[in-house]
Amino acid sequence: MSISDSSGLFGSYSLLSGTFDEYFSGAGTVRPEFRQAVASLSTSSVDEFQRCQALAERALLNQGVTFSVYSDNRGTEKIFPFDLVPRIISSRDWKHLDEGLRQRMRALEMFLSDIYDGQRILQEKRIPQELVLGAKHYLPMLRGIRPAGGVRVHIGGIDLIRDPGGVFRVLEDNLRTPSGVSYVIENRLVTKKVFPQAFDRARIQRVDLYPSRLAETLRSVSPVDAAETAVVVLTPGPYNSAYFEHSFLARTMGVELVQAPDLFVENDCVFVRTTRGPRRVHVIYRRTDEAFLDPEVFRPDSMLGVPGLVRAYAKGNVAVANALGNGVADDKAVYPFVPEMIRFYLSEEPILEQVPTYVCAREEDRRFVVEHLSELVVKAVDEAGGYGMLMGPQATASEREAFRKRIESEPRRYIAQPRVELSTCPTWIPEARRVEPRRVDLRPYILTSPAGPWVLPGGLTRVALVSGSYVVNSSQGGGSKDTWVQKGEA
């Protein structure tokens, strides 16, 4: 494509050196597979685009597609900033990701079943035993319990980034309560509503089938016949930052949204209190932290949770998605060993690349990390959302010193990785009234039933809206984009 074709919206677009750009292979040169899509996006003038962007934000606010801001006790809600320029993934790239993600999920699923059973992988010394059994979220009391339906990661979210060579790499696994899928669906709805002229209708895979696939997945692990199964979504309540999503999923699946006080356990079965008396519950999609699930097991001092839930779970009378104890597999110090899990359980070579990782629990790694703090990104193994992190290259000397001390005193809690230059995607910058490159990541969602994993064709593209930033988390200035996965050639 020549320069003249990238006029209009992309007329003044200049690449960020040292990064892979999702749209352009060079200045003014659109990647061949996206030419048609970019051509229809370019037909908008800056004014038109600005109007559509404002309409989109208005629509999200009116519909209450918001998250609660923790720091504000008035319960303020904000929209998750939305950028109307879509992220596009070619069908070839997607085929590779789809295969790689399903392979990874199968291995992680087998790893969890093994760790809560015979621990063969530890006995054969393929992963250091102390690293796994020392993980904060490993729950030894669950060993020997097979969850109803046998699945443990019903819903997985795997964060991917793309390096300067255009290679997708797994950054981390989210196997407990990954969130964000509601934005995938709402972003698509809004895009179609306010920007229909650009929507490349014939060539983009749909995402709106997710709720029904999720409902099927949940019913597939029910202890009773699928037709008689009562599924509920368990939320901490309207003040939780992800409440919109909890309510969205209950609504789009047509099931009840409950809070812990609505549930109780009798004879090791779970019931919900209704206006017509108690009613049995068979599958719980819980969006609460497992530490607040059952005070009998996790926090005897807590008023929160459903006493007896874990007994009912252990007896197989209720399926809980995701299973309890999954945190041992998405621990960041266990992450470097996922390729080894794939080789061990599946006898396959990993399809997806990872990011090289130093595990501070290992002495030689730790020594390297503390000597190279200014080049590395350090992460606490059990935190998420961009918290407990040191961005070495941007940090001050005193911040680095504070992290050095923390690493020395609790090495098991930290890992370090070289900072990967995230890929960039054209993004509307309202102050500049033009499109500029901003860094993005990608979180695809994978549903697993006893029949195996299925990947939603799309996912959440998060974007660091602040110029120069690498942090895409909504709590720290991140936004999101609609993610278009192109259909393969017919």
Partner: protein, 317 residues
Amino acid sequence: MISRVADHCFWFGRYLERTESTARMLLVTQNLALDGELSARQCWRPLIIVSGEERSFVSSHGSDAMADAEAVQGYLTWDEENYSGIKRSIEFLRENARSIREVISLEVWEVANELHLWINSPAAAAEYRNHRYGFFRHIRFVSQLCLGLLRSTMLHDAPLNFIWLGVLLERVGQTARTLDVHHHAFTEIEEAHQVVETSLWLSLLRSCSGFEPFMKRHQGSVTGEAVASFLIFEPRFPRSIRYGLHAALWRFHEIRPPAEHALPGAGTEERLKELEHWLRAQKAGLKPAGIHDLLTHVVDETAGICNVIRKELLGVG
């Protein structure tokens, strides 16, 4: 249906009706005050009393403020301490809606959410300052739209039944209190000019959306007794006490069919039925002097029924 969700539905209905009713009364009273036949106090004081907030209003604004149109309107619209005021009612109605987002329709949710966004926006404050009539009319219009959308976009099953039960019981209480306060005030006006008295009764009808329905029944002859009797007993007027109780009982039977004795709700059924029967029996032989006692009984019993519903069905207490 989950008890906690039913509780939110019930309160969503009550706050929605309260919002609409407060906006409508403010609108009508503004109109009445313009006629200039009544003192400011005679116009505005009843609103404070109907809202049930006389004590807290007097303690924060002083008794004289009941003659101050701006103070009364500000209190009933914006005051954060006034839990039955418009701003607070909208806040509560939207909070309840958000808690039951998965059971109400998208249309109902959008309207409730947009009302909440609007009342908190500078545009609403400017409208209140510059175009008071338009301000109240907007609130009234949007809440009526919401009431209509409930019935035209939601499944007619348990959630709607609980919302509507809340709407009806709130409405019964509002009509009873409004009539009681006005009835009392009119008897205080000594040797009122007949024109004045008639205009008062008409404004009362308007504040209950009953002007035209009343005229259709009475062909222009307006007396205090006829108006009171209409608002209490008219079986076909949707804001009369009798209609409200009858409809509430019907909704309740949808939620809990009388034949299903094992279901919770026996106490509610009994009390609601009793009040409905009692009211019907009062029509014959009601004297003007007995109206206050009748209305007081309705207000007390309605509050009592709400408490029994909460205990038996909504998992509260």
